[in-house]
Symmetry: C2
Subunit: 193 residues, 2 copies
DNA sequence: TCTTTTATATAAATGGATTATATAATTTAG
DNA sequence: CTAAATTATATAATCCATTTATATAAAAGA
């Protein structure tokens, strides 16, 4: 047989790039085939159908985001730098931003906020917060979860408002919410002593 | 000509019911035609295309939600009853819930959180909160906006977790966030006196 | 070298959106 | 009171994307 020119990775990567440039509605077999310079057959031999391929594109996107955000964390300005990274991504990669926030979190159903947190959030952030503010790991996780929820709310609204709200304003809003959640945790700690 | 049997309202209503029962992917011309007992032609004479029709279904959904929530508000338990109404809707109408929260907020781009707030939220809630807690209207709006953002975050996560997280848990989470935001406003007020 | 295998190509089949054409019932002009 | 014009709907055709079926040709193995 002819040696294999096309791999599953190439297919997913081409689909990812199309989605990145023009949104998921550009992920069409013929567009992928054109980009890879092949017919539609290789695409179907490595992916069962478009729906599955789009799930792979969403996973690829989640990975892209995690890499991007991890690379932009500044230890001194932990949370704010994460927030800024997301806002930057919203500006630079609006299409990807949409899949990332509106994606299904998992193939299976998630049954509690705890499970969602474990699945979504690396515990290193909670560890960091616990140490920085001398709070319990449990409190740090609550703080982190609140921020993730709030950030998801802001992001969903940004998407559905067509990305028209200025970054600075959203940045301020995130920052103010973070301070509110943090103050509450610190106060709770004071009262428990 | 034969007298008009089909109206635009009938088309949108049939599409809405299909979407409600089986999600937006069931909104197909042939399904609408079957439900109305007509051919595809009337649908196209009243709606320019499926994309526009789906926008109308989203508007119809927003209206359905506002009616539902308004009917479930209890004055003594204002915010909690709103939160409960949304969670009930998520349970009873998962498909509608999805369009409602992931819909485009407007045909045009929204340029500030203020504009988003004006467009999304009736000021009567802010008025109510301002009076109840004797805070400024501006502070009440901030409180309300924070809750709308947080609620959007919770809802987006509920959708993307496949509605597996129990209502009671989400209810508790909303309630605790509400108390945190409220405490902060009350404390701010104390300091300003 | 000849057969088998298989990666890719080409072509056909399916299904949904949309458009073009046809039909027949109601207005309306004469 | 017709007959022409209008138009709501139906039927049929077209378009475009996904998916499947068949064909081809290059590599591997006997």
């Amino acid at each position: 047989m002819p040696k294999q020119r096309i791999t599953k990775e190439m297919v997913v990567e081409a689909a990812f790039e199309l989605a990145r440039e023009g949104g998921m509605e550009q992920v069409l077999v013929k567009n992928i085939a054109a980009r890879l310079g092949c017919s539609v057959q290789p695409i179907y031999s490595y992916c069962s159908n478009m729906e599955e391929l789009k799930k792979d594109v969403q996973k690829r996107t989640a990975w892209f985001f995690q890499e991007y955000v991890a690379a932009h964390i500044e230890k001194e300005d932990y949370f704010h730098s994460i927030g800024k990274a997301y806002l930057l991504l919203a500006k630079e990669e609006p299409h990807l931003f949409e899949f990332y926030f509106l994606r299904k979190r998992s193939d299976r159903t998630i049954h509690s906020l705890e499970e969602l947190y474990e699945r979504e959030c690396s515990t290193s952030t909670a560890d960091f917060l616990a140490e920085k503010y001398a709070i319990s790991l449990e409190a740090a996780k609550r703080l982190h979860l609140n921020m993730v929820i709030y950030n998801t709310g802001i992001s969903t609204m940004m998407i559905s408002s067509n990305f028209g709200i200025p970054m600075e304003e959203l940045d301020r809003q995130l920052q103010s919410a973070y301070e509110i959640f943090l103050q509450q945790i610190l106060q709770e700690k004071k009262q428990n002593v």
